[in-house]
């Protein structure tokens, strides 16, 4: 393995801005006075509340579930009284039902929260634990982890990858987690290996985090059968298809899942959550959130209860530094700009990025000069300039012909475009049209 050189085709160097928060140890955020816990934080079916207004709940208590397989259970993150169940906007931009809990300050744990011994668990028991503890992919997409681990009959998995690339600029949560909780991550990874019955296991980390590489290497024992793969620092190295190609050389085609090439990818934070679920019986009710950007007085990495409002975390980071331009949930390349701070942290919230007003450039969009830089950077081998041109004319058929659906929406094309054209933005829109059209016919 060509350590430090592993990479994918295409991609782009982006400014990192990691220095704002990477040296800040994880700090436990104050538990909020009110937690707003969405019933749908994940891909799949929404949960239904299993508590009523007026009920007293404790930390780790199940408050939402559904019978659907592709879904993820939701737990209380604070102890207190259910004040309200209401529909509100969350950071993904959609509206969903939320259970509002008022904190009684006791931080009482639910009696179900107790640890297990990994050696005594069968693979299926591990997967059940993952499901019961509401674990969903913490890299951002929030795909229910037990679904990812339930391999359909006839498919064979031989490699499992833990994603510690953290290629999004600004975000440092995974980096801190690897530095401070490497043992937990390795423990969680061993559980994943056991659940999937896989021998080959890699942790992929970009070479801008060599201290994390060392920390993780130190935590791995020879008998664990885990190898650290040092990746080139290039965006989007942490995209699922990119990291699989970088480490295994296998290509996942359009619309295909990694398991088609025998690989399962999980995030380092997800592995930590699995370790917590097994060792301490802890459901996924808190996560690391990087609050960063030059629009923040004191950028920090927080351990945050799910349901904590963004405004609360911004306050605990010293507030805004100057006039805020954009508040982004996630990183600057794929994150979602928020119109309000009244949105809660969810399982997929990796960061809150505040760009001051002067950093939010409103540059005029110029005509395409056909320089071809978007082709150079596209990790999917697409021709973004053409797809975007068809998308802007709403030519669904041609956009489809140019393989718009293979776009992973990483935004590298829009980033590099000298004419400042909204390439990724328009392609994202036409993808929805293509999918809608396919469903109709």
């Amino acid at each position: 393995m060509n350590q430090g050189k592993l990479t994918f085709k295409g991609g782009v160097q982006v400014p990192e801005f990691k220095e704002l928060a990477e040296s800040k140890p994880i700090e436990v955020a104050e538990s909020p006075q009110f937690a707003y816990i969405p019933m749908q934080q994940h891909i799949g079916a929404p949960c239904e509340p299993v508590v009523n207004v007026g009920d007293r709940v404790t930390i780790g208590q199940k408050i939402g579930e559904t019978g659907a397989f592709v879904s993820s259970t939701v737990h209380a993150s604070i102890a207190g009284t259910v004040k309200e169940i209401k529909t509100m906007y969350i950071s993904t931009g959609s509206k969903t039902k939320c259970v509002v809990i008022e904190n009684d300050g006791t931080d009482e744990m639910h009696e179900s929260v107790k640890g297990r011994n990994l050696d005594e668990l069968s693979p299926q028991e591990i997967i059940n634990l993952v499901k019961d503890n509401g674990i969903a992919g913490m890299g951002g997409a929030c795909f229910p982890t037990h679904v990812k681990f339930s391999i359909p009959d006839g498919k064979k998995i031989d490699t499992v990858i833990l994603n510690g690339a953290e290629c999004e600029p600004y975000l440092t949560g995974d980096h801190r987690l690897m530095l401070e909780n490497a043992e937990s991550i390795v423990f969680g990874f061993k559980a994943i290996k056991k659940a999937l019955g896989v021998e080959k296991a890699y942790i992929g980390i970009e070479n801008n985090k060599m201290d994390a590489v060392e920390a993780v290497k130190k935590a791995i024992k020879p008998e664990d059968g885990i190898e650290v793969a040092v990746l080139q620092t290039k965006y989007p190295q942490g995209a699922e298809k990119s990291i699989i190609y970088a480490i295994t050389g296998r290509s996942v085609g359009t619309g295909a899942l990694p398991l088609e090439v025998g690989v399962v990818v999980s995030n380092v934070a997800t592995a930590k959550a699995i370790a917590d679920a097994i060792q301490h019986g802890k459901p996924l009710y808190e996560r690391i959130v990087t609050v960063t950007g030059r629009g923040i007085v004191e950028p920090k990495n927080f351990l945050v209860r799910i349901g904590t409002p963004f405004s609360e975390l911004i306050r605990q980071s010293g507030g805004f530094n100057g006039k805020p331009g954009k508040v982004i949930s996630g990183g600057p390349m794929m994150g979602i700009a928020q119109f309000t701070l009244d949105v809660p942290v969810i399982k997929g919230s990796g960061g809150i990025l505040v760009l001051p007003e002067e950093e939010v450039k409103d540059e005029p969009v110029l005509p395409c000069i056909k320089c071809g830089k978007c082709l150079d950077v596209c990790p999917s081998g697409l021709q973004p300039l053409f797809i975007s041109a068809y998308a802007l004319r709403n030519d669904v058929e041609r956009a489809d012909y140019y393989s718009a659906l293979a776009c992973v929406e990483c935004g590298a094309c829009s980033f590099i475009c000298p004419a400042k054209r909204p390439l990724a933005e328009s392609i994202r829109n036409i993808k929805k049209e293509i999918i809608a059209k396919r469903k109709k016919s």
């Binding site: 085709k9 982006v14 400014p15 009110f34 600029p169 298809k241 190609y245 290509s251 085609g253 359009t254 295909a256 007085v297 409002p309 405004s311 911004i314 306050r315 010293g318 507030g319 805004f320 006039k323 805020p324 954009k326 508040v327 982004i328 996630g330 600057p332 390349m333 794929m334 979602i336 700009a337 119109f339 309000t340 701070l341 009244d342 939010v360 540059e363 110029l366 005509p367 395409c368 000069i369 056909k370 071809g372 082709l375 990790p379 999917s380 081998g381 697409l382 021709q383 300039l385 393989s403 293979a406 935004g411 829009s414 980033f415 590099i416 475009c417 000298p418 990724a424 933005e425 994202r428």
Partner: protein
């Protein structure tokens, strides 16, 4: 949660809801810009411009000024007339003006140069949709129009010393006359259009464009390489090859014209086919055709073939099995 946060500087609460800017990701952009790209091309042409002024003196200054100013005026005028946003600040008209001037013989009258600029900007560029939409290189299109309209003027070359003289390839084609020394071809001091006289000055600019990642090195290398190989296959004496490479506008064309974004393929494979096609046509024109130089028409013909090349060289989508 009422849309308010504490402003730590004043201990007041501020309502944010109407202040935050919302747009789709990505939220950061690179420093690349159209203007910077065009500026890079202009910078790359500075050595050749200085060379042309050094060798041809006032004639070169006159032609450069006329074409650049005319290109800017015509672009401004036509964009106003068509009620389109005026984009002269993107510097692309200046690039076209400079390239056109560098493709003219020193003795070209000012009004012929100005007509060339008008043709390049109005007919080739703006009539087809402006920057990025021209189907052929504006400067070369204009040169072709001028050659067709005033063949006498466009083929009366002078040496830098002011004495009228054939170009090295013209001498080769005719089979009579005295070929210049190789040093003259490398450093300048040969007959031809004002921009092609010094190979080394053009190469300095070309290397700058490659380093700045403005052009793909494969295009000039494949172009010049193919021309050389095909000329050899066609039986050109190997002692004359150096004149073919350094003369006849090949270096100017390969680095600055065949690499024009709008009129050459955008696909990686397409770029290579384009460059090889240019090289093949250039060699054929020189040996089998009536033209001693052939670079302009080779590139123009390949410009026209560009959409077709792009259609057949769609890059493989990641993970796609073909």
């Amino acid at each position: 949660m009422d849309g308010k946060v504490i402003d730590p500087t004043s201990n007041d609460t501020v309502v944010l809801d109407d202040m935050l800017i919302v747009s789709l990701s990505p939220h950061i952009k690179s420093d690349e810009s159209v203007k910077r790209t065009m500026l890079d091309v202009i910078i790359a042409l500075v050595p050749a411009m200085i060379g042309s002024v050094y060798f041809f003196g006032f004639d070169a200054i006159r032609l450069l000024l006329v074409t650049v100013v005319a290109a800017l005026i015509f672009e401004y005028g036509i964009q106003k007339l068509f009620k389109k946003p005026v984009r002269i600040m993107d510097l692309s008209a200046i690039v076209t003006g400079i390239l056109l001037a560098l493709n003219l013989p020193a003795g070209t009258p000012w009004w012929v140069a100005a007509f060339g600029a008008a043709f390049a900007i109005i007919i080739v560029k703006e009539f087809f949709g402006g920057i990025g939409q021209n189907f052929m290189n504006p400067a070369l299109g204009a040169r072709a129009a001028l050659v067709a309209s005033w063949p006498g003027i466009m083929s009366s070359y002078v040496n830098p010393d002011g004495i009228s003289a054939a170009t090295p390839l013209g001498i080769l084609k005719a089979g009579e006359g005295n070929l210049p020394a190789i040093q003259s071809m490398i450093f300048g001091d040969i007959g031809g259009v004002i921009g092609e006289t010094s190979a080394i000055l053009l190469l300095i600019g070309g290397v700058y464009l490659i380093i700045r990642n403005v052009i793909d090195w494969k295009i000039p290398v494949l172009y010049i390489g193919t021309t050389t190989v095909v000329l050899m296959l066609l039986g050109v004496d190997s002692s004359n090859l150096i004149f073919h490479v350094l003369g006849g506008g090949l270096i100017l064309g390969a680095f600055f014209m065949a690499t024009d974004y709008a009129s050459s393929p955008v696909t990686p494979k397409g770029k290579m086919i384009f460059a090889i096609g240019c090289g093949l046509l250039t060699a054929l024109f020189r040996v089998k055709g009536g033209l001693p130089e052939g670079v302009s028409y080779a590139i123009l013909l390949m410009n026209v073939a560009t959409p077709l090349i792009e259609k057949f060289t769609r890059p493989k989508v990641f993970g796609e099995v073909k």
